[in-house]
Symmetry: C2
Subunit: 168 residues, 2 copies
DNA sequence: TTTGCTGCAAAGTGTTTGCACGGGA
DNA sequence: TCCCGTGCAAACACTTTGCAGCAAA
């Protein structure tokens, strides 16, 4: 995975561009939200973005965060995802062109991204076999990440301590 | 896919078994819910199960449906899934031992199951590469199914008419 | 009689919407 | 001036929970 915390690239600039071409405005709130998105842990929820952005504008409202992420979604700059039923909140993911997939650690909740190049071939075969037109694929793996496995092996270093070590 | 509507097998019997071994009771409500599950379209929501089961017991309550499906989930007989963020409800899936994956048709909303045998190898490689312990994998494909593609090609047979033809 | 299951209503969570105000183009 | 974006509160959709009564063992 090289770096589990990947670059969100130029979300702010991309968004500014989209705004200009639609007669929209780059307000302080939007900038704070975009920056929060960028500094948040991977795949933040609306609430997580809100809590971070609010540090810069204590009057910021959750509704504004939702409006902004939904707008980013419409513009194709981010994607909403639900990684597990039961955790009822959507997580937002910078929608990069290359298909990227996710591993969710059931111990520390970390979400690791990866490219599954081999998957493309599997899907191609399936599409042919079942005569499907496949537009999008989502692979989510659940299990235990390397750190948590090492931790468990080492001895009592708990998933909780892993989370804390990562600042979550 | 052989048959898109697969056998839910003996959900009722399986459930009875689990009930007996835990001192539980097979009530009418539970039976109606289990049978509704079986006769429902693939991957029903709690609401869909409720609407069907209520035809047999007009006093049935949604809360009872939720309690029952959550219990089935705990017993490992069904699995909750969210196929698309934005459709806020969970869908329930008979949890068969073999990993099975899903294709969601964006035209007629049909959910098609398939076995992706090739996927296992892809995952094995990923697990090794990233040093992950993978316990569960979920592959969801979005696109257009064979029927809807044919329909579109044939001429105006709409996705809606497809749905109706399938009794949804 | 004990205990499990139910219906009901209320609460809870995450997300969306109507509205009036305020500020930028 | 126009109208976009905001905060606020209410509405929403889905799911869960507390409780009292009922029913099966």
């Amino acid at each position: 995975m090289a770096e589990w915390k990947h670059e969100h690239g130029n979300l702010v600039e991309d968004a500014s561009g989209k705004l200009k071409s639609h007669g929209g405005r780059m307000t302080d709130q939007r900038r704070f939200i975009l920056e929060a998105f960028r500094s948040a842990s991977e795949h933040p929820t609306a609430g997580e973005i809100f809590r971070i952005a609010r540090r810069r504008d204590s009057d910021l409202n959750l509704a504004t965060v939702y409006r902004t992420v939904r707008w980013l979604e419409r513009e194709g700059l981010v994607q909403a995802r639900v990684f597990e039923p039961g955790s009822r909140s959507e997580r937002f993911d910078s929608a990069r062109p290359a298909a990227h997939h996710h591993f969710v650690c059931s111990a520390c909740q970390r979400i690791i991204e990866f490219d599954a190049s081999g998957l493309a071939e599997v899907i191609r075969v399936l599409a042919k076999q079942y005569a499907l037109q496949v537009d999008q694929s989502t692979l989510v793996l659940h299990g235990v990440c390397f750190d948590c496995r090492s931790a468990a092996k080492a001895h009592g270093r708990s998933a909780k301590r892993n989370r804390i070590a990562r600042g979550l």
